[in-house]
Each structure stands twice: as C-alpha cells, then as structure tokens.
Amino acid sequence: MELTVITEHATYTHIAISGKLDIAGVAEIENHFIEVTAGRKVSAIIDVSGVTFTGSMGLRLFLRASKSLSQEKKKLILLDPQPMVNEVLVDSGIKGVVAVEKSLEAALALAQA
C-alpha cells in the first residue's frame, strides 16, 4: 500500500492511497492514515481510485477514522472508488457514515460545507 499526502489545508486534508487494502496493506499504512486523517481533526478526502481491493480491515480503517472525525463534526470522504471497491462499500453499509464522491470538486464542496 502507498499513502501520499496531497494537501494539508487548514480546513481539509487530501490524501491518496493505492494498492490492496487487505490485512497486510492496512498494517502498512494504518498509523500514518489515522495520523493524517483523524489526527488533523479536519475533514479528509481520500482518493481511493488506486485501491484495487478492500477487505474487512480496510473498512475498519475507514470506519475508525470516520468515527473519530464525526466527533469533531468533520467528514471522511472517499473519492472515486473502483467499481469493485464501491460494491464492497455498498454491501458493507459503510456508505451510511462515510461519504463517497466521484469528483474532487464535489468532495471539496462536501469537505468545506
């Protein structure tokens, strides 16, 4: 897994992750991911277009960050998931607490709303 910080804006964080979000992949990025999302206490846009797979630990990662941000009234926004990842997000029910957007403009609008 790779995690790239794109923007650390005063009102939002924009990062990109790529690779397989399986147990091993999550272990590689978990601490850094939490630090730059939940740790900044501002809404986070996660570009997941490069994520080819997410398993239960990947969902847990999103849920953990989202729950932490929601305590600050902030959002976790997943940007442009691949169809297979999107299907997992739908089946998991996580879309109820994690926003999913197709475009960066829409994600930015939601992050700064």
Binding site: I23, G55, L59, R60, K67, D91, S92, I94, V97
Partner: protein, 396 residues
C-alpha cells in the same frame, strides 16, 4: 506467555571455555596450554587427528586449535569432516601453522577455519583471537537457543490454534436431509479467521440460518466469532424475537459495540425461512449478499439489505426484506473469503463470477460443495486459501 524477544536481550558474555589443542609437537602443546590456562581456559590435548575428531564429537568443546600440517589428518581434511557434521559445523576452529605452506592456510580458511596463527604464537594475538572466536560461538549458541525456544513456542501456538479450530468445528451444525437439504464446507485459514455459521429450527415453522465474519484474523477474531455464534444458536439476546432478522441484527449491534470488542466489528447475514409460507426473511449487516437461484434459473437473486457492519456504530438501523422460495430453489450463503481470492493474473475474483459459477451447476443433481471448493482452490492456485472459506447451501 514467555517472550522470546525478552530473552533475546540476555546475550551471555564470553567466558573461559573448554579448548581442544591438537598438535603433534609436545613442547608446542605444552607451551600453548600454559598460556591458555593462565586465561582460565580448560585445555585438553590430542596429537592424533582422528581421535581428536572423536573427542570433539563426544565432548562439549568451545573451540579447537588445530595444527595445519598435522600428520594423518591435515587441517583441510579435518575441516571438511567437521563442517559436514551438524553438531560440530559451528565449532570455532583456529589453525596453527609453521607458516611454510601459506596456500594450504588459505584453503583452510576458505574451507571454514575461523582464523590462523603462525608458530610460535604471539600470546596477545592468541588471546585476542580466542576471545573473538568464543564470543562468536557464544552468540551463535544463544541464537540457537532462541530459535529452539521460538520453535517450541510456535509449536505450542500451532497446537492451540488446532484446538481452537477443532472447537469451532464442533459448534457447526450437522448437514440436514429433511425437510430440505442443508450442507456446508468450512476451511479455516491457517491463522484461524473470524468466520462462524449455523442453522437451527427456532420452532416447528421457522428455520434460522446465519453466517458471521469478524474482521481480522487470529484467535482474537475467533473468540468474538464463537461468542456471537453461541448467542445466535441459543437465541440468547434478551427480548428479541429471533424470527425477526432485523431485530436480531439491531440487538447484536447493541450487544457487541466494537469499542468493547477490541475494536472488532463483524458482518452478519441472518435469515429465517418460514416453512408454512415458503417465505425467507433476511437482514444483513456489512455481509456479502446470499444468492438465491429459483428452480431452473442460472442467474441469482442477491439477498442483501445493505446494513452497516454489526458493532460499527451504535445508531445503525437494520431492515429486513422477504422473498418467496419456490420448491427446487437453491440458496448459497458464504463469506467474502469464498470469492475474494487473488487470481494468478493478480486481479481479485468477484462475487459475480462466483454467482456465474454457481449458476452453471446442474439443476437436476445435488450441489457438489467439494467441486465448488476445488474450483476456488484451482482459481487461487493454492490449496491454502488466504481467508476462511465458508459456504452453506440450502436446497429447498
């Protein structure tokens, strides 16, 4: 449990050791021995190479000093024998040489000698090289002890995992033949995953069927999985009508918040088949859909209510849906490990591909679960699957 790593920091310091001195020249032997005994080493002598090898094999020596040009068994021949012997191949060997055949000394070093000294040996140099070699041996011995301890602990962990798997398997229901056929295959992953499932009659008319998957792998996940399974199979959630799937998921969500389960949530598919009406009511939380194939159909109806993973959020709402189950229908319930496998080309197999495979099964014969499992193994290119494999089928 005793930690291997905690022990790893206790590296023993080098101490005087037991040294075998092999040299055919008596005055040399005695001179060297005197110097070494002053350092506290225990010295034994031998002038015959073959007897020296026997002594080394029988005794617990820390180092051997060997004359390169020993008659009968040269330093090179000795090294070849020593390094082939599993018990002695790590024994430090210092060669002592008259220095007349430097090529031989080089070949001995290449063959595994630790170092060499020219006769007459400089006492300071001798002392330093013995100390270095013995420190190396001490570290090596310590590594071997750690490895041995690690293997013992690993064997114990594997044994305990095997016990846990046996216990888990003992909780799973037997296959059914009446009033419909119910069967399953369950292959836990090598580390033990978080899958569990079951089915039972709640009353004469209502048959419950459920499969849950705790996130992550290992004993921690399996413990939560077994706890939830026991709750479901014994209808043990206060005030819950277990004939109502949405009620069951809501109650489980309240009973097992992830913050109190070591940050673990689980996915759950829970359905109730009512025999008198042929109606299946189901609710799912974070779980892959079950697949229902009406008789003769090769396309599946996906049964999912897209609820939140159970234990993920305290305020999650769960709904239920229902469908008719005509006679001859087939229902497949499974975990993500049944289809989230990495294919040799690198991509991940999909639930739709699994549905396509299941849709091709002959409708006039019993479902061959072993054939499905074999196909999944074939696709993954390994008999060892990455995740738990759980698959239940009901043939109505």
């Amino acid at each position: 449990m005793e930690s291997v790593l905690e022990k790893a920091v206790e590296v023993p310091a080098s101490a005087p050791g037991r040294i075998l001195l092999v040299d055919h020249d008596r005055p040399v032997r005695e001179g060297l021995a005197a110097k070494l005994e002053c350092e506290g080493h225990l010295i034994e002598f031998e002038e015959d190479g073959f007897k020296a090898l026997d002594l080394l094999a029988a005794g617990n020596f820390d180092l051997v000093l060997w004359e390169v040009e020993l008659p009968g068994l040269s330093g090179l021949d000795m090294l070849k024998r020593l390094r082939r012997d599993a018990r002695l191949k790590h024994l430090p060997v210092l060669l002592i040489s008259e220095g007349r055949d430097l090529d031989m000394v080089i070949r001995c070093i290449e063959a595994g000698a630790d170092d060499y000294l020219s006769k007459p040996c400089n006492p300071a140099l001798l002392k330093a090289r013995i100390r270095t070699s013995m420190e190396r041996k001490s570290l090596h011995d310590h590594e071997r002890q750690l490895l041995s301890r690690f293997r013992t602990q690993q064997a114990r962990i594997n044994s305990e995992l095997a016990d846990a798997k046996t216990y888990l398997m003992s909780l799973l229901p037997p296959p059914l033949q009446e009033p419909f056929v119910a069967d399953w295959r369950f292959i836990p992953s090598s580390e033990l995953g978080g899958d569990c499932f079951g089915y039972h009659w709640i009353d004469e008319d209502h048959f419950a069927l459920y499969l849950l998957d705790v996130c992550g792998h290992g004993v921690g996940s399996a413990l939560l999985s077994v706890t939830v399974l026991n709750v479901l199979r014994s209808n043990a959630l206060n005030g819950v009508d277990f004939r109502q799937p949405a009620e069951v998921l809501s109650a489980a969500n309240r009973a097992f918040p992830m913050e109190r389960q070591n940050n673990r949530y689980f996915t759950l598919w829970y359905g109730v088949y009512q025999r008198s009406t042929r109606k299946l009511t189901y609710s799912s939380g974070g779980h892959p859909p079950a697949l229902l194939f009406p008789p003769g159909a090769n396309e599946a109806k996906k049964l999912s209510t897209h609820g939140m993973m159970v234990g993920g959020l305290s305020f999650s709402q769960y709904t239920a849906e229902s469908c008719e189950v005509p006679a001859g229908s087939r229902l497949f319930l499974f975990c993500d490990g049944a289809y989230e496998i990495t294919l040799p080309e690198g991509r991940t197999y999909t639930i739709d591909e699994l549905a396509g495979q299941l849709g091709k099964l002959p409708s006039n014969a019993p479902v061959d679960l072993d054939a499905i499992l074999a196909q999944i193994r074939l696709l993954s290119g390994s008999s060892e699957l990455e995740d738990d494999f759980s698959l239940i089928t009901i043939q109505f």
